[in-house]
Amino acid sequence: MNRCKQCNINVRDDVQICPLCKCALEIGEGTENKYPDIAAKRQKLKLLLRIYLFVAIVVGCTLVIMNILFTPDFFWSVIPVCALAYVYLTLAYTAGYDKSGYRTKIIVGVFAAVALLLLIDGVTGYKAWSGNYVLPALTIALDIAILFLVFINRENWQSYLPIQLIMIPVSLIPFVLRFFGLVTSLTVSYISLAVSVFFFLGTYIIGGERAWEELRRRFHI
């Protein structure tokens, strides 16, 4: 056993310096390191993200400068800059944020994409295609993806019911946007709403007692 004369204690670690006072130890026998040597874990993904961030800043700034110099009347550089930002934020969120599960990540990713498309639509003179078609179409895509997950994860199919329920108010968003004039046609939105409602009802009715139990758990007070 090593001994620190300053602290007047024994040190079991196989070291030469006292961990408490950093003074040299009197070296003895019977020492052992009981913990693994944790090498710094290489975080390749985070490095790639940082490289991407740097490249995206350089490219974005170049595009903005070109935009100002050559076409100052049309601010087109907003679109690629937002696209670059979207890719970065999506990657950082999906790869770097452990607290959220894959379901939350998919939903956040899809709605960030909707926001990006709304922005692109706005910059290009707002023809309302983003609100009329893209938003409800992506909502339908999300509904289908959730249904797909219900079949894939059959043992826990009931755990997707709350998300299916959330998709109903989500598919009502275009109807709200209509009041603000951001949506001019509701045809696809009606289909999207119907899909959300029927997918939820289908899972709930066919699921029977287990579906009811799931909702009871989720809404317990």
């Binding site: 007047n8 670690d13 408490l20 009981k34 693994p36 709350p162 809404f219």
Partner: protein
């Protein structure tokens, strides 16, 4: 010759468990907070470890876990978010994979990883580690599970020594999962916890989620003798030594904040409970940091008085009753979870700095004598938290006392001061670390 009739295929249920109702449980009163505040920097995870006489075999440990886990409803769950509350739901995935330790202790347990379990089992050389997210249970519940895991491992590793026993549970193991907070709370209690900022242990943080562990081994009888000499309990002696070390290192005459050491108290003995869920509350011992030339003897007096005043059944009941009565109010029950989270975060931020540190005494760990010869030492320690960057855990096993400091600070001044005090009092101390300080 008549053809032999093919035997009718016996209709068997594929998995009867799938057909029955999914088991679910509400979180206990303290558990509501942990998912809100937990993250990489504040993991709310604690480790219990058993050191055996032989190197651990990974496959045997996995088999032991596979057998033990289904019997522990409390551990066999995943956490789900409801509209108003988080809750536990039966986890029908296989037991989490046993891994060789390859990271720092008490890392964050991510809800949707590790097969959605709220604990992990690792091993290194002769040591089995169980790391538990506090949302599941406190140290008592953790030991309850760890004991069975170790017993099962020993039985599988030494079948010749246990020829008749298979998966039996030991008689001291509890399977009770009642919420003893709700069962024992008293309505209309006043707020008991402090929010005034305490003197903080500050220093340089270690990089990259590093986590330092310093364990001090000492003879239990020597500690008993010293505390008897001072006329205090072992617990009071260690709390005072820790508080005094902080005072000596950080206090000065202009200090406006006191040294305040949080001491978790196991409520089971006071309320006749055998629950395996969380059932503890926290009291605190205080030293006036502005007082000049405070001696260790005087510090012992302060600690003895403040702990003595607080650790009574009535006071303990008052402390947890305030939180439980808030939880039981209809308005808080009907508040959506995300709003509750915002409120809890704000309240936690207010009270997190009210203590300088935490020291918890797990007590004397006893194993069944048939298994005791295979286990040389039991360990326990906590993760750090906001404002409490160094914490301590005390436990004893087979006549050896173990005080373990966990910290994310590079400096070890408090630990040094603590162990030097013990050494000055005549206690022979042997320390070991997890290697981050060398």
């Amino acid at each position: 010759m008549a053809k032999d009739k093919k035997p009718k295929k016996e209709k068997t249920k594929k998995n009867p468990q799938k057909r029955r109702e999914i088991r679910w449980e509400k979180l206990d009163n303290t558990a509501h907070l942990f998912p809100v505040i937990a993250g990489e920097s504040m993991t709310n995870t604690y480790r219990i470890a058993a050191e055996l006489t032989e190197d651990i075999d990974k496959d045997t440990l996995q088999r032991a876990l596979d057998r033990v886990l289904p019997r522990f409803d409390l551990f066999n769950v995943r956490m789900r978010a409801g509209v108003f509350w988080n809750y536990f739901e039966e986890n029908n995935k296989p037991a989490p994979k046993v891994r060789e330790e390859d990271n720092y202790p008490c890392r964050f347990i991510v809800a949707h990883k590790n097969r959605s379990y709220m604990f992990r089992v690792t091993y290194f050389k002769k040591r089995i580690n169980l790391e538990v997210f506090h949302v599941l249970t406190d140290g008592t519940g953790g030991f309850n599970f760890m004991r069975e895991l170790v017993y099962q491992y020993i039985r599988l590793a030494h079948p010749d020594d246990f020829p008749e026993e298979t998966d039996i549970l030991s008689t001291e193991t509890s399977m009770n999962t009642e919420d003893s907070f709700v069962r024992n709370y008293r309505q209309k209690s006043k707020k008991q916890y402090k929010t005034k900022k305490a003197l903080q242990i500050t220093g340089t943080r270690m990089s990259e989620n590093k986590f330092g562990v310093i364990s001090g081994y000492m003879d239990l009888n020597a500690v008993k003798e010293v505390s008897k000499k001072y006329g205090v309990s072992i617990n009071t002696y260690f709390v005072a030594a820790f508080a005094y070390a902080i005072y000596m290192e950080y206090a000065h005459p202009d200090s406006k904040s006191n040294v305040r050491v949080a001491v978790p108290v196991n409520l089971r003995p006071y309320f006749d409970s055998v629950t395996t869920k969380n059932f503890f509350t926290v009291v605190s011992a205080e030293l006036p940091a502005f007082e000049k030339d405070l001696t260790f003897e005087k510090a012992l007096e302060y600690v003895k008085k403040s702990l003595g005043d607080q650790i009574t059944k009535e006071h303990l009941e008052e402390i947890f009753s305030y939180n439980v009565s808030n939880q039981m109010m209809l308005i808080s029950r009907l508040t959506p979870l995300f709003i509750k989270h915002m409120v809890m975060r704000a309240v936690y931020r207010q009270s997190a700095l009210a203590n300088s540190t935490t020291i918890t005494n797990v007590g004397n760990i006893k194993l069944d004598e048939r298994y005791e010869k295979y286990v040389t030492m039991m360990h326990a320690y906590l993760a750090v938290s906001t404002g409490q960057l160094t914490k301590a855990t005390v436990c004893s096993y087979k006549g050896t006392m173990l005080v373990t400091f966990s910290s994310i600070l590079k400096e070890t001044a408090v630990q040094r001061r603590f162990f030097r005090q013990l050494s000055k009092d005549g206690i022979e101390v042997t320390i070991e670390t997890n290697g981050v300080y060398s």
